[in-house]
Symmetry: C2
Subunit: 427 residues, 2 copies
């Protein structure tokens, strides 16, 4: 075993030992530890900001984008918000220990399905150091030990943050190894974490497509991932067109770089000539590039020529692309069945909305579209743990196993069956 | 793409198309299809038994064990039982469509978490052709299409069975491809099924350790597996010793070849001298080989010399072995904490029992042992879908993600969030 493999094995062993302690740690002590972690984060503010300044300086010198520099930069305010986030997580209900189901069999055996921590979570992410705090807090609250593998740009910041969090854990009498950072960012560490069979119970990669594909290609342990969000808004013949315009503008424009932003607009043929010029004007006004199929171009009228820089013909790939930008692919469909067919063929099973006043059509769409979140008369942007009322979110799963859609605290748990008897044997 | 890869891709495509139909098929029609499948199984009895006779003949000629021949052999009675099993599954409650949780957010959005099928399940198993029928029935009842990859010994039987099941599906107006058999049994098909990203939603391997390790090493899609069942009975100081004897004999002897049979007996030091000679005599009488640590040998008294062929010194590996045979490893421990420590270190997180009259000790054990099923004063043999009252079981998961312990119909489903609004946008 080489040095890197030894390092990951050691982190894994320490995490498992911590997880065993956490599994039977009372809820109040976990909350006390979260508060202590918040406190230590503020105590260490000078160290953390100094480490962060070094990260930011190196990133600038390396010519990183402004967007990355912004995500990377910590300020006293941002750090205070991280600490406040830990206190908010402490105030949430505890997922562990909940009895999910109880029943008694005719032979007198009493069964209980009880929520338990997963054990050890591996969390792989990219440049934002505040994610280090969020992930540590959510994993601890759900009774799990976590091994964090952040991006290389944030290594100094994450090291200082994790040291503070571990001091908080120790101060509260919990194992400092409940939160550990992989102290190097070699690409191989991603593979090694994914090979930690029997050590890491769940690997959550959060980041760009390249990272996630690497994890999926190499992992031997369970992974919950977040692939593309190719989200669609379908405007039905029976839609309230004022509502439809408001929803698609919100879904596309309010935050185009996130996964729950809309990438495709499908419009029912019967209302296209009426709706598209209006919504097209609103989108163009918001700076959105429109990529239209032939029928949509025809329906858009003179906007096509008046805004030729923003309005172009759609290529087939446009309907399979997560633009993460002010770009929208637009297509005319014959009916709700064609909309469902398009979404099932081209979408990414993330988030899809129908706008219609017709309940039967809506229910057909909600049943027929196999996505994590399907909405009726609401923006795709609502696929979000906070908007769901989960109080916290570690990611949005595009998988169908274990957790689908927004992942809060409950999604970081497993269960076990506790069976209480009086000497029953099996015949 | 070579021929085998093309074949698997085609099966996958057909399964996905079938799954899309099943996702919105009414429950009554699924039950009608299960009944039609049962009927076609009996209509095809002559063909199926003929195919089975050819499989059995080939297995005999190949010198297969009697145990395998027995598992492989179909009779009119066994086939009738398979058909009856389909009818019983039809009579179970439908998992799909259940609303798991409903709530409304302050902005008026109404959220529902709704159970949906997983989609396409890949099921890899070994020689018993009745599993073909069981797996097809459970997957269909839960709204899933299934691709079955059985063992080579049963290929003729499985081909005839699957043809009958498909005729039943067609007769009921459902896609015949909802149940498909991989028509070849090259080892490569296991790998190809595991690489069907975006096509197969869940792969369930059921069989020997070699098969499961191959799947785990090669799969790129989610797998729920069943590794070793190294199950333990811990007899506490405060145990009712008559009950303890009855439970360990049941756990070890009633069916030693199955995963929920006990492999290890831990005995509290304070009662060892009293308990071990009694339980030892009972186990020896039942033909059980005892492998004892030094303290247990001392406590066993003159049984050690009187039954030297059955009583030997335990090697360290004996406490990490799934014997699947009339062999039991026995060890003395100081207290319940030592028992928990032993189980967490040596066990397989499958099924573990404490025998005690002391409730606090029992709860310490039930909380501290991280196994799929933990029992108090009951035999390990109760880790079983039927004993749980699930009505059906496709396997017992030793994983912690998605499904843990007995897997019934609910464990073959996922969920989606359905959100109903009135024009809400996100701020």
């Amino acid at each position: 075993m080489d040095g890197l493999a030894q390092l990951i094995a050691q982190l894994g062993q320490q995490a498992r030992a911590a997880a065993r302690v956490l599994a039977t740690t009372p809820a109040a002590r976990i909350d006390a530890a979260l508060a202590a972690m918040a406190k230590e984060l503020l105590v260490a503010q000078t160290d953390i900001l100094k480490a962060n300044a070094a990260d930011v300086g190196a990133a600038k010198a390396a010519g990183q984008t402004l967007a990355l520099l912004d995500r990377l930069t910590l300020t006293p305010e941002r750090l205070a918000k991280c600490a406040e986030g830990l206190r908010q997580v402490a105030a949430l209900p505890h997922p562990v220990g909940a009895v999910l189901r109880e029943w008694t069999q005719p032979n007198g055996l009493k069964f209980a399905k009880v929520r338990v921590p997963l054990g050890v979570i591996g969390f792989i992410y990219e440049s934002r150091p505040n994610v280090t705090v969020d992930a540590a807090g959510l994993c601890l609250k759900s009774g799990n030990a976590v091994i964090l593998r952040g991006g290389s740009e944030a290594l100094r910041s994450n090291t200082a943050i994790t040291a503070a969090l571990s001091r908080g854990l120790s101060a509260a009498g919990l194992p400092a190894h409940a939160v550990q950072l992989v102290p190097v960012t070699d690409r191989d560490t991603v593979r090694l974490l994914g090979e930690a069979v029997g050590v890491i119970d769940l690997l959550i990669p959060r980041g760009g497509r390249g990272l996630i594909e690497t994890v999926v290609q190499t992992a031997r342990i369970p992974v919950i991932k977040h692939y593309d969000g190719i989200c669609t808004v379908y405007v039905d013949r029976a839609a309230d067109l004022v509502m439809a315009e408001k929803l698609i503008v919100n879904a596309k424009v309010s935050r185009p770089g996130v996964c729950n932003a809309a990438e495709t607009l499908l419009v029912h043929r019967d209302i296209a000539a009426k709706f598209l010029p209006v919504v097209g004007a609103a989108l163009i006004k918001a700076g959105v590039q429109l990529r239209l199929d032939d029928a949509a171009r025809a329906a858009l009228g003179d906007l096509v020529t008046r805004h030729s820089s923003l309005v172009t013909a759609a290529q087939p790939a446009d309907f399979r692309t997560e633009f993460l930008d002010l770009i929208l692919a637009v297509k005319i469909v014959d009916d709700v069945a064609a909309a469902i067919e398009h979404i099932e063929t081209h979408g990414s099973h993330h988030t899809d909305t129908i706008v219609t006043a017709d309940a039967a059509t809506a229910e057909q769409f909600l049943a027929g579209v196999d996505s994590a979140v399907v909405l009726w008369n609401a923006s795709t942007r609502f696929n979000d743990g906070h908007e769901f009322g989960f109080g916290a979110e570690i990611g949005i799963s595009t998988d169908k196993l274990h957790a689908r859609g927004p992942m809060g605290l409950e999604e970081l748990t497993s269960y076990k069956y506790v069976v209480r008897g009086s000497g029953q044997t099996r015949g």
